[in-house]
């Protein structure tokens, strides 16, 4: 059984095959355009995801804190001149934190809640002392906020009794190795001898120097906050839902609730600007490809005048002629998108081999998400179809007599 194409695709294919050079050029243009779009999209998506991942690797998506304390006017007499001094914020617990934690955990989109008590302290060893942030946590729960186990360079991320986890910079500064002792002293006069059970390297020197993890009860007693926590850290399923969830929580609890999107507003703005410029580039490339397809097809319609006239004389309707040229546009788009995706894959491979991180790992993975290929195919075919519209209508309108005579 022979493969027999219907009229319109059959003639469209033959016309494309007949105009070899033109078809090749238009196909090369479309391929290049699709490759640029797919490559850029894949690259930027990956790099943005990496940046967000890196930023969120060391911070919770949402943080719940107590409201700041503020001084109020004792009496409302507007005639009295009053200077209200801002108040110093002391370390306070989140009121009713256990019920608030349950409320947060029950909120759709929230995947983890971890109570933390944190305050300033000094790490002291011999004559040396360093200012650190004491973090009282429940290791199991905290792990679901920051994937600490991925950052461990020695020992495990577990706190228990007086066993603590510190960063690699602090360990280096104080000459501490695993299982060594370390004293923490607090401004309130309390102190405690800790045993280092784990050392992490989170990829940020400042945090490596400052974070000292201890158990929640130890943190509470050292910071004079028995039974209390200074903040609740949350992880959400979709990081870009964080702001909405934070707002809902704020409404429900009346506490201060910040999402990573607020704390990293500048980063987010930068990412957004990058997306805008990427969209701009993509739009222009699409426009140029569309103009290319349209101009080649316009020329092709003029060249094929006689053939169009003959087909019309043999009973082909205007609609059939219209289809012939629309299909040509769509075919160029579809084939161009396949070739373009392949080219983009090649480019990704090449550039991931060239551009590497400081540690020698590739800056981005040489992989192409199938959804981008599908999207590119749809867009390119649609653009091909759309840009064929004007030439195709011109072909369909052609007077067969004029066409045959010319």
């Amino acid at each position: 059984m022979k493969l027999r194409l219907p009229f319109a695709p059959l003639v469209a294919l033959r016309f494309l095959r007949e105009g070899r050079m033109q078809t090749l050029l238009i196909l090369a243009g479309t391929t290049g355009g699709v490759a640029v779009i797919v490559f850029l999209t894949q690259l930027i998506t990956q790099l943005q995801a990496q940046i967000v991942d890196r930023v969120l690797g060391t911070q919770p998506h949402v943080v719940i804190r107590p409201l700041e304390e503020a001084n109020r006017r004792a009496f409302d007499d507007p005639a009295s001149a009053v200077v209200i001094e801002p108040r110093a914020q002391r370390l306070r617990s989140v009121d009713q934190w256990e019920s608030i934690a349950r409320l947060a955990a029950a909120m759709p989109g929230v995947t983890a809640v971890s109570p933390t008590v944190t305050g300033p302290a000094f790490a002291v060893r011999g004559q040396a002392n360093k200012s650190v942030a004491l973090m009282g946590i429940d290791a199991e729960r905290y792990r679901r906020i920051v994937r600490m186990e991925e950052y461990m360079v020695a020992g495990r991320f577990a706190v228990d009794g007086t066993r603590a986890v510190i960063g690699s910079e602090l360990a280096k500064d104080l000459g501490i190795r695993l299982e060594d002792k370390l004293r923490v002293a607090l401004p309130n006069g309390r102190d405690e001898l800790l045993q280092v059970g784990g050392i992490f390297d989170i990829g940020n020197k400042d945090l490596n120097r400052r974070w000292v993890f201890v158990t929640l009860p130890l943190g509470q007693s050292l910071l004079d906050l028995p039974g209390g926590v200074s903040n609740l850290d949350l992880t959400v399923a979709d990081i870009f839902d964080a702001q909405a969830i934070a707002e809902r929580l704020q409404g429900a609890t009346g506490l201060t609730v910040d999402s990573w999107m607020q704390t990293n507003a500048q980063l987010l703005a930068a990412l957004r600007n990058q997306t805008v410029s990427n969209n701009l580039i993509r739009s222009f490339v699409i426009l140029i490809v569309a103009l290319g397809i349209a101009s080649v097809l316009v020329v092709s319609v003029v060249q094929k005048q006689k053939e169009i006239g003959i087909l019309r004389a043999m009973g082909a309707s205007r609609a059939m002629i219209l289809q012939v040229f629309l299909i040509q546009g769509a075919l160029v788009g579809a084939v161009g998108s396949i070739l373009g995706s392949l080219l983009a894959f090649g480019l990704l491979n090449m550039f991931s081999a060239i551009y590497r991180n400081a540690d020698g790992s590739p800056l981005f993975a040489a992989e192409l998400e199938p959804r981008f290929i599908v999207l590119a195919a749809l867009v390119a075919t649609g653009v091909g179809l759309a840009s064929a519209l004007i030439p195709a209508r011109r072909a369909a309108k052609m007077d067969p007599v004029q066409a045959i005579r010319s």
Partner: protein, 229 residues
């Protein structure tokens, strides 16, 4: 006349109607062609032969008068119906063969059937092969038009015109650019098909020798029929 394939009554054609350069090229043509008739349409250049042929072939619409094909008044038909009627009942043979260069001889002959039925099928291929055999080109069925001689191309064009067994064949100087010997062959071929299928043929020609071999000669001068015998 009940068996008239085409019937023209008071048919006129003007170009640029309503503008200062309006020009009427056909002034009231009365003409009918019966089934199986083999007629020549002759006349000097500019007499309106091609225009008349195009109107009969439904490629152009008349300005006035009546044109019936197979008893149907074409004035009532929509654009789509006209196109369908043209494809089904009229076969064209042009002066310069007008084959589609991108398709083989066989595919060119199949094309009217492909258009009429939407896609190629076995029947169209069988008919096309038969027709190519009849015009003596079965061996060249898979060649492209460019690989054929002028006479061969015109034979393919005739085979194509016959593909859907039309009731009417319109030929515009089918032998115009061929040598005498080849022209005779092509003419003989048309005549043979005319006898076999009983289709009406209207052939525009400049060649008085060929016109003399037709059943009927219609002479057009300045957009009017000057002689019909």
């Amino acid at each position: 006349m009940s068996d008239a394939v085409i019937e023209l009554a008071g048919l006129t054609k003007a170009y640029n109607v309503g503008t200062p350069v309006e020009a009427e090229v056909l002034h009231g043509i009365d003409l009918s062609l019966a089934q199986g008739e083999f007629a020549a349409l002759i006349g000097p250049s500019g007499s309106g032969k091609s225009t008349l042929l195009n109107i009969i072939g439904l490629l152009e619409r008349p300005t006035g008068g009546r044109l019936s094909i197979g008893g149907r008044d074409t004035a009532e038909l929509s654009e789509a119906e006209i196109t369908a009627l043209r494809g089904r009942s009229i076969g064209f043979v042009f002066q310069f063969h007008h084959l589609l260069p991108a398709f083989s001889a066989l595919e060119n002959v199949m094309m009217p059937a492909i258009i009429a039925r939407g896609a190629p099928d076995d029947e169209a291929e069988a008919t096309a092969l038969q027709l190519l055999d009849a015009v003596g080109l079965k061996a060249h069925a898979h060649k492209k038009p460019a690989e054929l001689s002028g006479g061969q191309q015109q034979r393919v064009a005739i085979a194509r015109a016959l593909a859907l067994r039309p009731r009417l064949i319109l030929a515009d100087e089918p032998t115009g650019n061929l040598d005498t010997h080849t022209a005779d062959d092509i003419f003989a071929l048309l005549r043979e098909f005319n006898r076999q299928t009983d289709c009406a043929c209207l052939i525009v020609t400049h060649d008085p020798r060929l016109a003399a071999r037709c059943d009927r000669t219609i002479r057009l001068v300045d957009g009017r029929i000057a002689a019909d015998c």
